[in-house]
Symmetry: C2
Subunit: 322 residues, 2 copies
């Protein structure tokens, strides 16, 4: 007898794509994937939990989008081409309306990226979505975190801080104009993974990471893994359109420590500036040069007079201690 | 500033194995794995949720073992060689003693299988463990569910039903002898994935599945996918050692519908009986021939007189309706 959760699992059983790398998907003990010759499989897992990553009652269509988008963002930061994903889903009850909406958001993005759901697990339990995503990348052209070099330019895609502003709207009922509210909530709930940019940066960028926890913290991972430091110019930060409505200090805080931006931060040699700009144009994304990699460990953010900027957030200082 | 959950994640950061297929593990946006030339990557995901798959207060060391074992069992059923796994873990609080014990159980099995944790995610939330496991298998030698053929023998490894008996002990305080209690609980909490057998059956078995939901249901998946039926002889069922203490009807029910056995059920041509027995000997596992694949859809279990056996469980009849 099929349980209601077996039936739910069937909800996710869709026609196969004809990509050729996925030999066997849902319905066997394992899925089988073969990466192209001379390429590695890039793998990332993210778990989204109710009450931690989203509020109870969050729109399931946006959750479906976001659960996949944050994983695709990890592939983008690696310069990997998406191939497929698995989904493990715990649900308090078999709510068909919720599932229909969740699946709509999930598969709209999957179809756009031409990737398929290759397997997974569905069970009763407190709401929890765990997606594992698979991509391929030529083994020695992956955009790792540990490849930054002294004098590399530090670049960021898109803009920063609007998702953090969206969180203020949701959790603290911050009132903004209708337009700014829409922009900020869209950035929070429906992040855009920068996959095309990641692919275009293969062979150009020395290191890359996606901004999930905030620029300071995530650039800090590149610096730690590369055993180097960085200097950023605060005036160069691409402040999100909605965030521009706030005071300068809030702009700075949210752009540097906001999180949930899912932009790519990457390092490339100054000699490749033209190629970076061409790659960004090709990917249809704006990129901004923020600063330089330096030999001294630690991360310094300077104002227009060249003085270190002061930030309220204590997290700012953390990475300046090697 | 590292959160307590970042620190927990570091708990899982261990020395690298030198297998050569994992190029990049924990600490970057993605892990990178390259399967051997001409092999595919086999991938499976299982999510274990407190209150659903185990009781609150369950021994964390056993949970660590079981969370990985049930995933390795899926690789075994595919004939795939384990390479690595990712772990996404939601925990109500950062409990160091719990984590130390969980990690001990997890890594004892991982070390035994010589596989490494390649990445994952750690977050606060209701207890939930989601493991995704990666193995490699020659693409056209994978033991799929859809490969059974008419007249194939149906085999089962090890014994059946003791894990189900263990569940009675845990949930209904069933009293057994000390030895039988120990056996049944060991089977429930610390299943042994049949990896060596799965590898040895490449090129011999036409189809395979692991028994997680019970023989009837799981063999049913092979029959559905292969569009065939089967006849089993009840007297041939390898009843678990502890389960032999129970009445014949309970033995039959638990062996056929118990679940959590994590034995391999596989189909192979009668001409390959000697090779099956050699493969089992090589893998150090007992195998038992239970019946045959037949062209008529449905699953029939016969007693020693050749009459269909009656079972209390309603799930029994399900797969006899094509």
């Amino acid at each position: 007898m099929l349980s209601e959760f077996d039936l739910i699992a069937r909800y996710f059983n869709r026609p196969r794509h004809t990509g050729g790398v996925v030999h066997l998907g849902i319905g066997d003990d394992c899925a089988l994937i073969t990466p192209p010759v001379n390429e590695s499989l890039a793998i990332s897992t993210d778990m989204l939990v109710e009450g931690r990553h989203f509020l109870p009652g969050a729109d399931p269509e946006s959750l479906g989008h976001k659960a996949l988008a944050v994983n695709l963002s990890d592939l983008a930061a690696m310069g990997a081409r998406p191939l497929g994903f698995s989904l493990a889903l715990a649900l308090p009850q078999a709510d068909e309306a919720w599932l229909a909406s969740f699946a709509r958001g999930l598969f709209a993005l999957a179809d756009q990226e031409q990737i398929e759901l290759i397997g997974g697990d569905t069970t009763r339990g407190p709401l929890n979505m765990c997606i594992t995503v698979f991509g391929s990348v030529p083994t020695h052209h992956a955009l790792r975190r540990d490849g930054a070099r002294v004098d590399d330019d530090i670049w960021i895609s898109g803009s920063l801080g609007d998702a953090r502003l969206g969180l203020e709207i949701v959790t603290r009922h911050l009132a903004l104009s209708e337009t700014d509210t829409a922009i900020a909530l869209e950035r929070l709930h429906r992040p855009t993974p920068r996959g095309s940019l990641g692919l275009a940066l293969r062979g150009i960028a020395n290191a890359a990471i996606d901004i999930s926890d905030g620029l300071i913290g995530d650039l800090g991972h590149i610096l730690q893994r590369s055993m180097l430091g960085a200097t950023l110019e605060a005036d160069l930060l691409p402040i999100g359109r909605a965030l521009q409505s706030q005071d300068p200090q809030t702009q700075l805080e949210f752009a540097l420590n906001g999180g949930d931006d899912y932009e790519l931060c990457f390092c490339a040699p100054p000699a490749k500036r033209d190629r970076v700009i061409m790659a960004a144009k090709q990917a249809g994304v704006v990129v901004t040069r923020l600063g330089q990699i330096v030999p001294t460990p630690g991360l310094r953010v300077l104002d227009s007079a060249g003085h270190p900027v002061k930030l309220h957030s204590s997290s700012f200082d953390h990475f300046s201690k090697p």
